[in-house]
Structure formats: structure tokens, C-alpha cells
């Protein structure tokens, strides 16, 4: 595929996200017609007489809109972080869960629920614990002897295991009537009950985190050919790696803290994009941003509309993601 066609592909992807958002506005238990939607939106800027119910307007602004935006935001975050981790660690199997981001967030959330904190504090605790876990992984990984990449992966596995043990222990001592179900539900990953505050919080952090990654994406490319070669080409490997990891981690923690554990997005979406636009971060990173948003938005639409009872999105991403990944590594032709 030529560069020009890759550029066109990415523009198409961005239009798919826009179309996806518009379609999602109409999906849900409260029906809103296109005309009503137009009216609700225009009424923000112009004075028109409502021909819709105030309940519709309320649902649109406080439930549906935040829900749609958070699906896009979390999708972008997980997919972009996965794409960056794969490059920085020179490892196709790298994903946000990889460094303990998710299990750290889970532990923080479980602790907060056990302590009876409110929903906002649960988010904050998940965020803080997620960052702390990755920080710990990074410190341990840097102290390992020999190959630092492998050291970091192993440190991630170990610290994740510790965090998961902590979460399991909290589940054991939690009150079985209300705390335990809440923890379990949080860990499954869900976008239910997203508030406008969640959107602003995670959205702001993700914008701050993704800009440096977009700037550094050329250098992350060079990291994938190996530390020594990248270094002799003139890349300050330690610095590029550090900034990339900080940003990817910030973005992951912001997503996980509002959504719970949503697996597979960070692994599958970047690989899907690799098949389409190739491995050059120039195209791969923007493609991952758009496809991450599109993928999670679509899965969330299924999660909240397919059955009478909402299915936690984490279950769906696994059901869709795992078989799709198997397809990618077998039928997809290229080696991963």
C-alpha cells in the first residue's frame, strides 16, 4: 500500500469514528429520533421551542453522550498504549495489562470499595494505584541484570501477580452482600454509569498523554529495531523510552480507572491496524487511535443494546478479541 493510500485509509477511519458516534446517539433504551437529536443539539446554541421531552434531553446529555465519549476515550487510550508498548518493548505481545496497569488499578479500586469510598474516589484510587504499580515495575525492571526488556516484562508479571493476590484477598474479606459484587463488577470492566466528570477527567489526561506520543512516534519506530542500532542512529534511547512509557502509562491508568479492566483492546486493535497500514508508526499510531475508538464504541453498543441486561464490556472484548487475534496470527498471513 502506498503512503498516499495509507493516508486516505486513516481519513476513512476517522470518518468511521464520526459516523459511529452519530449512529450511537440513536441506540439505547430511550429512543431519540434524528430530528429530536438535531433539536436537542441546536437548542444549545439557538432558542428553539422543544418538540422533545425533557427526559430525552436529560438522558442524552447525562447518560448517552458521556457513555459514547467514554467508549471512544477508553478505546483510544488502550489501543494507543498497546501500540506504544509493543514498539518500546520490541514485543508484539505487549499490551497495557502487561505492565500491571490493569491489575494495579483493580487493587486500588477494590481497596476503595472496601473502604466505602464514593465512586469518584474509586476512580482516583484506581488511577493512583495503576501509576504506582507501573512505577514499581519500572524500578524493578531497571534493576534486573541482563536484557532490560525481558526484565521489565518479568517485573510486570510479578507485580501484577502480587496486585492480583491483594485484590483476591480484599474480595475474601469484603462484605458479600454489597462490596463483593461491586468489586467483581468493577473488575469485569464496564462503562455503565459513566458521568460527565469521568469524561472530563480521563479525556483531559488522555489528550495530554497522547500528544507527546504522536510527536515521538518517529523515534519509537527506531526503537523497534533494537537498542544498540537505535542508539548509534542517534536516538537517546533511555529518554525516548522513558517519555513514551510515562505517557502510555498515564493514558492507560486514566482509562482503566474509569472503565475497570477491559482486556484485549490494546493487543488486538494495534495488530489489526498493522495488517492494514503496516508497522510504520507514522501511520500505525493515528490508525490505532481511530480504530481503538471505533472498536470500543461498537462493542459498547452491542454491550448495552443486544440483550435486555447489559453485558459488561470486558467480557465482550474478550469474546470478540481472542478469536480475532487467533485469526490474525494464523490466517492473517504475516508473522506477528
Amino acid at each position: 500500500m502506498t503512503d498516499a493510500r495509507k493516508r486516505t485509509t486513516i481519513i476513512i477511519m476517522s470518518l468511521m469514528v464520526l459516523a459511529g458516534i452519530v449512529i450511537s446517539f440513536f441506540l439505547g433504551q430511550f429512543s431519540i429520533t434524528p430530528k429530536e437529536l438535531g433539536g436537542i443539539i441546536i437548542s444549545q446554541f439557538a432558542d428553539i421551542k422543544p418538540f422533545w421531552t425533557s427526559q430525552q434531553e436529560h438522558v442524552f446529555w447525562t447518560v448517552r453522550m458521556p457513555r459514547i465519549l467514554i467508549a471512544c476515550i477508553v478505546g483510544i487510550a488502550l489501543s494507543t498504549a498497546g501500540c506504544v508498548y509493543q514498539g518500546v518493548f520490541e514485543n508484539p505481545m505487549a499490551a497495557p495489562d502487561f505492565l500491571g496497569a490493569s491489575s494495579g488499578a483493580g487493587l486500588g479500586a477494590a481497596l476503595a470499595i472496601l473502604a466505602g469510598m464514593n465512586e469518584w474516589m474509586i476512580t482516583v484510587m484506581a488511577f493512583v494505584f495503576s501509576l504506582a504499580t507501573i512505577w514499581l515495575v519500572y524500578i524493578i525492571g531497571n534493576r534486573t541484570r541482563g536484557n532490560k526488556t525481558v526484565g521489565l516484562v518479568l517485573a510486570g508479571l510479578m507485580v501484577s501477580a502480587l496486585a492480583q493476590a491483594g485484590t483476591s484477598f480484599i474480595k475474601l474479606v469484603a462484605d458479600q452482600t454489597n462490596e463483593l459484587p461491586e468489586i467483581t463488577y468493577w473488575l469485569m470492566g464496564s462503562l455503565t454509569g459513566t458521568t460527565q466528570r469521568d469524561v472530563v477527567f480521563s479525556g483531559a489526561i488522555i489528550v495530554v498523554g497522547i500528544i507527546p506520543l504522536l510527536i515521538l512516534r518517529w523515534k519509537i519506530n527506531v526503537l523497534t529495531i533494537g537498542e544498540d542500532e537505535a542508539s548509534t542512529i542517534g536516538i537517546n534511547v533511555a529518554r525516548v523510552r522513558f517519555i513514551s512509557l510515562i505517557c502510555a502509562t498515564l493514558v492507560t491508568a486514566a482509562a482503566v480507572s474509569v472503565s475497570g479492566m477491559i482486556g484485549w483492546v490494546g493487543l488486538v486493535v494495534p495488530h489489526f491496524c498493522r495488517k492494514i497500514v503496516g508497522n510504520n508508526m507514522k501511520f500505525l499510531l493515528p490508525a490505532s487511535v481511530f480504530m481503538g475508538a471505533f472498536f470500543l464504541l461498537m462493542v459498547d453498543n452491542i454491550s448495552r443494546n443486544l440483550f435486555a441486561v447489559e453485558i459488561p464490556i470486558g467480557i465482550l472484548t474478550a469474546i470478540i478479541g481472542a478469536p480475532f487475534f487467533i485469526y490474525l496470527i494464523t490466517k492473517g498471513g504475516e508473522s506477528v
Binding site: 509493543q86 510527536i215 518517529w218 523497534t224 529495531i225 542500532e229 536516538i235 503496516g278
Partner: protein, 264 residues
């Protein structure tokens, strides 16, 4: 010109380089010979700035190399590995343009100038036709050419190569070495390690023999190389045979049967 003077390096208490000194001038192809573990790779890593904590000095055009930042070093010295195995497949143009990354970058990435540098490098190596091919799917010889093109795009005049042809078939070895001679004639300095003493006759201006961390001998291959040197360096008995044009010589292992006969 790159000058190495009294270079010493130790991994812990194990001293690998024990005082290495030499120069390499523009328009010179220097071959470094040495048995496995002699210290060739360590020497290269020091020269590329990948290992710190050595004693002695490495200067490039009189500038202390250890004081330069990675992106400044990249403008003087380029590294061409034996084979690059990128985790993910890139096309050839992407690989070559990576060489310009120390100067390019920012939000917009490599621009027209960098693209031209990469295209110039590809055409200089005569591999323009590979531009859009997948790097992981071209032959070993072609990959080596791409890595050399990447070093040229980087803009450095000193090229350090780690056994550039050891994994190539005979034809590709010759093609790569011919390209290197062409670069040398344009004023590049090439320092390469090799395990093939015979080849140095054809291509090297000077050889540097490292044994146990010191320079055992250096000079023109025609002056330095003899049966004793091979015996001392590699521990094998050889016989040296000169070809008719007195330029190329070959070494033959003394046959096993000879030794058997001698015993009788």
C-alpha cells in the same frame, strides 16, 4: 579521522581490552581480525559510544567522542550490524529513512530533505528497485546493502561494520565488498571485523590483529600476514599459497593425513 588511544575496558574484573591504539583515516578500509572473544565487539561498542566507563581516549577529528550526545555521535560514526532483525516488518524506504532520525523528527517527522537523503543513499548502493519491498523479505545480501544505505543516509563518514559479510553467500560477499571499496574511494572510512583472513587481501588497506585484548600486529595484509600469524591468532597450522598475480593468496589447512604420515 578516528583515533583510538590506549583503550582499556573491563567487564567487572575481567579485562577485555588492554590498551588498544590505532588510527583510521578517510579513504581507508581497516579490517580487524581476532579470534572469538579477542575483544573486537567490545572495541566496536566503545567506538560507537554504546559502552561507557572505558579508559584511554577515542577522538573523531580531534573531538573527544565520549563528550558528544547520541545525535552528535551519529553524524560522525554509523554502525552497520551483521543483520538487523526488526521486531516488526518495515519496508526498505522506512528502514533507510530511520538513519536520518537524529536530525529529523518533531510532529511532522522526516520531510523532503530526509526523503532525498534516503533516496540518494539507495541509489548510491544501487538498490533503488528495492525501495518499496518488505525489508524482512529480501535476501541477506540485499538487507546488508539496505543497512549500508541507512548508514549513508545518516550522514556519518566513518562506518563501523560487524562481520558484514559472514552470513552471506560468496557472490553477495563480493558484491558487498565491492560496494564498500567504492565508498572508501569516495572518502569514507570503513572499519570492519572479519573472520576471513583471505578476504582482507583483496579488500583491506590495512589489517589490525587483536589477540587477548591487545594489538598483536597491524599493517598491510601483504606485509603482516603469514603462516605464523594465523597459527598465533587462531591456533591452526596453515600453508600460505600465492596466486599467479601475486596479489591474492590463499591459505590451506594442512591435511589431517599429513600429520598421520609424519607420525609413521
Amino acid at each position: 579521522m578516528i583515533s583510538v588511544s590506549d583503550l582499556r575496558y573491563a567487564y567487572g574484573t575481567h579485562e577485555v581490552l588492554k590498551g588498544i591504539s590505532f588510527d583510521a583515516r578517510p579513504g581507508e578500509l581497516l579490517c580487524i581480525l581476532g579470534h572469538n572473544g579477542a575483544g573486537k565487539s567490545t572495541l566496536f561498542k566503545c567506538m560507537l559510544g554504546l559502552l561507557r566507563g572505558y579508559s584511554g581516549s577515542i577522538t573523531v577529528d580531534g573531538i573527544d567522542f565520549s563528550r558528544l550526545k547520541p545525535k552528535e555521535k551519529a553524524l560522525y560514526v554509523a554502525y552497520i550490524p551483521q543483520a538487523s532483525k526488526p521486531t516488526f516488518a518495515y519496508n526498505v524506504m522506512d528502514m533507510v529513512i530511520m538513519g536520518t532520525m537524529s536530525v529529523a523528527g518533531g510532529i511532522s517527522g522526516p520531510g523532503e530533505k530526509e526523503k532525498r537523503l534516503a533516496l540518494d543513499a539507495l541509489s548510491k548502493m544501487g538498490i533503488m528497485h528495492l525501495k518499496d519491498r518488505d525489508y524482512t523479505k529480501i535476501s541477506g545480501g540485499e538487507q546488508q546493502m539496505v543497512l549500508i544505505a541507512r548508514a549513508l543516509a545518516q550522514g556519518a563518514k566513518i562506518l563501523i561494520m560487524d562481520e558484514p559479510t559472514s552470513s552471506l553467500d560468496y557472490g553477495n560477499q563480493m558484491r558487498v565488498q565491492k560496494q564498500l571499496r567504492k565508498l572508501v574511494s569516495e572518502g569514507y572510512t570503513i572499519i570492519q571485523s572479519t573472520h576471513n583472513p583471505e578476504q582482507t587481501y583483496v579488500f583491506a588497506d590495512r589489517i589490525l590483529c587483536i589477540r587477548d585484548g591487545i594489538i598483536y600486529r597491524q599493517g598491510k595484509p601483504q606485509d603482516v600476514m603469514d603462516e605464523k600469524l594465523i597459527k598465533d591468532m587462531y591456533g591452526i597450522d596453515v600453508e600460505m599459497v600465492e596466486s599467479a598475480d601475486k596479489r591474492v593468496r590463499f591459505f590451506e589447512l594442512k591435511e589431517y593425513e599429513d600429520n598421520e604420515e609424519n607420525k609413521e
